[in-house]
């Protein structure tokens, strides 16, 4: 079975940062216009080869932090650095190393899951001779059955989530940012997804995720970042 863990392919159009670099959050404050601060002076370093679970009550800023880490939302103050990059000053260079599962899915509805993964790899310039086989293995790993050849717009919530997980890994990222990745997955699919993430982490990948499944966080995460504590 092809390796699903992060690596830096040879024919990469999008230069990636050295995968051994940490993701460093430095004194980040996030406030929505006119609202109170959701994150206050948050500093934390996420190390490669680890999985960190974001915990805290609803509204404590878990999704906001993931939006900030994925360059979808700039911090009000403070910086997020990955290697030598300021994430919000060079988002394209940073995102070349990142796979994201958003809580709200947005897949290309007129492609199949197989085509979606191929599209991502080709767009990101990481398509090579082994990509098709690797993607098939990824879709096997998330237990997306023969319906992987149907359009994603026809998928159930669970199938969409499985495709999102595979899509996040399609371009062989070094960093995975996951917002409720287990939501809508059945028991077997949850176990499969968990196994995939553990393999990713053990292969040197950096995982940051939010989930309300405390039992799964216990099994996957080396550390927890409690956003409701401050």
């Amino acid at each position: 079975m092809p390796s699903l863990v992060p690596s830096v392919p040879d024919a990469d159009r999008q230069p990636k940062v050295d995968a051994s670099q940490p993701l460093a959050v430095d004194a980040v404050t996030k406030r929505y216009p006119g609202g109170p601060s959701v994150l206050r002076e948050l500093s934390h370093t996420f190390a490669p080869g680890t999985a960190t679970g974001l915990v805290g009550p609803n509204g404590s800023g878990k999704s906001t932090l993931l939006r900030v880490l994925s360059a979808l939302s700039p911090p009000t103050s403070g910086t997020v650095r990955y290697g030598g990059l300021d994430v919000h000053r060079q988002p394209h260079a940073y995102l070349a190393s990142v796979g994201v599962v958003h809580d709200r899915p947005d897949l290309p509805g007129f492609l199949t899951a197989v085509e979606t993964l191929a599209w991502i790899a080709r767009e990101r310039g990481v398509w090579d001779a082994g990509s098709a086989e690797r993607h098939a293995a990824l879709l096997d790993a998330v237990q997306l059955d023969e319906r992987r050849h149907q359009l994603t717009r026809t998928y159930s919530a669970g199938m969409t989530r499985k495709t999102q997980l595979a899509a996040a890994l399609a371009a062989r990222p070094a960093v995975l940012l996951l917002d409720e990745p287990f939501r809508a997955l059945d028991t077997a699919a949850t176990e499969a997804a968990l196994g995939l993430l553990v393999a990713f982490r053990d292969g040197g990948g950096l995982v940051v995720l939010s989930s309300h499944r405390a039992d799964l966080l216990d099994r996957l995460c080396d550390a927890r970042l409690d956003l409701g504590a401050g």
């Binding site: 006119g34 360059a71 897949l107 371009a171």
Partner: protein
């Protein structure tokens, strides 16, 4: 573009988008033809410049809402296009808007006045490019204000004189600056055109704005060095993030205005009141519709007060009636009313009625302005006030029906 976002490759979606732009271009063309009927060459020149100011006013308010947040933000993150491709995507979304807005100038000028048409088209192109460059970099300016790197003068001034403070958070003040910049640029072009009068000299001012804007764009993110550095991707993601935050549904609490209270919608029948109320609250949060309606009614009043003639008067009223009642199409988007919810809550008749009532709320201000004009000026009779009120009601019903029909057909296809 197709390789960038394959989800947009549905033929139906593409045809719908082309059809929508064609209908818009046709509507603006008809309005322009109505406004220009009976005008001589000088009058047409004046009208092209007035329309330029009007378009500047519209762009100044609408540009950020049209560009941000990009509806495919998450899909773009999956494919992570580089600066050049993001630039092409955004310009690809913006160019048709500018092209459609240039239609009135061509129609008003007519085939006999190519120089006037060229002035109008060049002005709209320059203004469109200027609006895009300033809007595309808005997020960077908002962020600089947020971090206290800019805006010190404003903060110092408002600390001493609180009356000067805008009713929005300080970091959103650059969006007011953007509105003013675009409107003033459009106004300056019109004034320059009027000062020159006619002849090739009328092309100078728009050509200068175009050249300056191009230089600005190249300086901001056009040079090879900037492309290497990825300057546009920073502007793109930051501006999208800033605007997504401003409309963040779950955690953003900032809102300048109080939403309409449920009880204030007492005039809607109980069976559809909740839908009307939710639609109005959502619409008001998505678009500054009140400001746009005020702008439109101001235009109607100005055109009538200036006794600009039957053509411009009818065209200005038609523009307001179509614009006000067309905005309800936003309630057919998933962002305002998710598809499955729209199908589950009531049938097509209920939604059509609810959308009709959402439209009808603008009838009193329209009728009020018209009544005032009928009372104060000779240009408008009381019969016309009634006539336009009835036209507004008819357009409100028609747009509500068409939007509901199109929306339910799409949803049944998607969620059947």
């Amino acid at each position: 573009m197709s390789a960038l976002l394959p989800g947009d490759q549905s033929r139906a979606a593409t045809l719908f988008r082309i059809g929508a732009f064609a209908v818009l271009a046709l509507t603006l063309g008809l309005l322009a033809a109505t406004a220009a009927s009976g005008l001589d060459g000088e009058g047409r020149g004046r009208l092209v410049r007035y329309v330029g100011i009007l378009i500047a006013g519209g762009l100044s308010v609408a540009a950020p809402h049209l560009l941000f947040p990009d509806p495919a933000m998450r899909r773009l993150q999956l494919s992570n296009p580089n600066s050049g491709r993001l630039l092409r995507r955004q310009l690809g979304r913006w160019a048709p808007v500018v092209a459609v807005l240039a239609v009135p100038a061509v129609v008003i000028a007519g085939a006999a006045r190519p120089l006037l048409a060229a002035e109008g088209v060049l002005s709209i192109a320059a203004l469109g490019l200027f609006a895009w460059v300033r809007t595309a970099t808005l997020g960077l300016r908002v962020r600089a204000w947020e971090r206290g790197e800019k805006g010190r003068f404003y903060r110092g001034l408002t600390a001493r004189f609180p009356a000067f403070k805008f009713q929005v958070p300080d970091e959103l003040v650059p969006s007011f600056g953007l509105t003013a910049e675009i409107f003033l640029a459009g106004g300056a072009l019109s004034i320059a055109g009027r000062a020159v009068g006619d002849g090739p000299g009328t092309l100078v001012a728009p050509a200068i704005l175009l050249a300056v804007t191009l230089a600005l764009a190249l300086r901001s993110f056009g040079s090879a060095q900037d492309r290497q550095r990825g300057a546009f991707d920073q502007a793109f993601w930051t501006s999208n993030g800033v605007w997504a935050d401003a409309f963040q549904p779950s955690e953003g609490t900032g809102e300048g205005r109080e939403p309409i209270a449920y009880d204030a919608v007492y005039w809607a029948p109980r069976a559809i009141r909740a839908r009307v109320w939710a639609g109005l609250v959502s619409l008001d949060r998505r678009l500054p519709l009140g400001r746009l309606v005020a702008l439109g009614l101001g235009l109607v009043a100005a055109v009538h007060a200036a006794d600009a003639g039957a053509g411009p008067e009818v065209a200005s009223l038609a523009l307001v009636v179509l614009g006000v009642n067309g905005a309800v199409a936003l309630t057919a988007t998933d962002a305002l009313v998710p598809g499955p919810l729209a199908l589950r809550v009531g049938g097509a008749w209920g939604w059509a009625a609810a959308r009709f009532l959402m439209n009808v709320r603008w009838l009193p201000p329209l009728a009020g302005v018209l009544a005032l004009l009928a009372w104060l000026t000779d240009g408008l009779g009381w019969a016309e006030v009634w006539q336009w009120a009835l036209i507004d009601l008819a357009v409100a019903a028609l747009s509500a029906g068409l939007v509901t029909l199109a929306s339910h057909a799409r949803l049944r296809r998607l969620h059947a």
